[in-house]
Symmetry: D2
């Protein structure tokens, strides 16, 4: 599968998360909204490992709000499951960036999706992604990986 291949390159960052009680609902599985949190955690880590820490991007007057989100739910996750969040950039333009995600448990893809982000300045206007941010978004993970969550 194309997707599988894509996400196994070094352009993909992985993060492990553990399902908490607060993430579940009365159906006994993870509530569909909880995955957006893990997408965000994966995305922040992706940027951090490439030297484009989102907090630093903001310090330069650039914000990357979500302008589109899509999720497909294939299998449920349950309490205490340890999930792997895989994240990569699948489209990088002058004014926007698209992240793709797979949330897996073992071999199973539980949830897949993407978020598209506009590059805006502090006035809320579309603005070109700074060159260093673009380069970081397109980069491989840096060698000096931290072990932080």
């Amino acid at each position: 599968m194309t997707h599988e291949t894509e996400s196994n390159t070094s352009n993909t960052t992985s993060l492990q998360v553990r399902v908490l009680y607060v993430d579940t609902d009365k159906m006994g599985v993870v509530h569909h909204a909880a995955y957006l949190r893990w997408f965000e955690a994966g995305r922040a880590r992706y940027m951090r490992l490439r030297g484009a820490k989102y907090a630093a991007v903001e310090d330069h007057g650039i914000q990357l709000p979500v302008v589109e989100a899509h999720l497909t739910y294939h299998k449920p996750a349950r309490y205490d499951d340890v999930l792997t969040v895989q994240v990569w950039v699948s489209d990088l333009g002058r004014l926007q960036v698209k992240f793709e995600y797979k949330i897996c448990m073992g071999e199973d893809i539980l949830v897949a999706g993407y978020t598209r982000h506009a590059s805006i300045n502090l006035d809320g206007r579309l603005t070109r992604l700074p060159t260093d941010v673009r380069e970081a978004l397109a980069a491989q993970e840096s060698k000096t990986e931290e072990t932080m969550v």
Copy 2:
């Protein structure tokens, strides 16, 4: 606009919600994940006003988990804004149902989206939507509208 028209028919249910502090993030606007909560609130109300209260559907051994969600974010909502959630069914099959949503403030559409739900039984298997649930999902709002949140 087609959408506008669709959502103003009597097949649309509206709900008003007020933005809380907890819904906002440090960008000063509503966090993108918060809208899934309001989609859910609107969907529950849609079903309730047609006599297909989701709790009652579950009592009959049918669950309607979200299998796909899509959101587009057009304009930000802010703290204390009063938003209107418009909900309607745009596709009703034997095994699934699709809800569409618009979250508006005044004339502005802030967020639009849809969720697709599979009909499954308690074993997690796809199962036909019961006739009365299908009929309710396709119905107009009942006359005896409650004024509840």
Copy 3:
């Protein structure tokens, strides 16, 4: 009971909320963290109905962050339950205010609690509550009650 009496005076504001799926957890009941959302919704309404809308307070450079929260959980709430949030001010100082809450279903008190808020300015320093905010916090509900959520 003292509490009952207190909360039934005209210094108490009530709000109704309906339990969503996202508020529940795999125990089949409302997750304990969800009640802080409803405390906040009740508190915002309390202030709004006395002309001290929190958004307006902030516009004057005053913030009221939570410095202490306490909750006792007596009985569980379940999906689709309609709960009544009762809120009143039980302590009003020069530099802080304490709100108390009861979340009820019918005659039953499900959750009780309080939050204590410091009055700070934009530099994060303790600052006297402006007189008009203090007066509003101590006031009865205004006559012109809105019907909004």
Copy 4:
């Protein structure tokens, strides 16, 4: 300080968490409700490292719902901060257990609190904590610590 001492014994478990955007609010800091999530994450880890994994406890028909929660907020946490959650058991009875928490950044205690949990069976009745669960709750961390989140 007594607390400091207590929490630095081997009866304390630590967990690191990173603040996400979704945890913040328009005040630019972490919303007060977000800490209950981290309390829960710390508590689950505490139990896991003593062989009393909460999921396993539930498999034996015991649930430990929160019956009381208390939080004091000393200093704000901000986006991307890495926080340390310290958890220990401060009271262990036949029918209940009390966990205490400190959420720190460096030397600073940002938030402190506790949660009290009743031991109930599947019918919702108070029931004695099973001996092995009690022993695990009172135990030191096991040697074979996993590195998982």
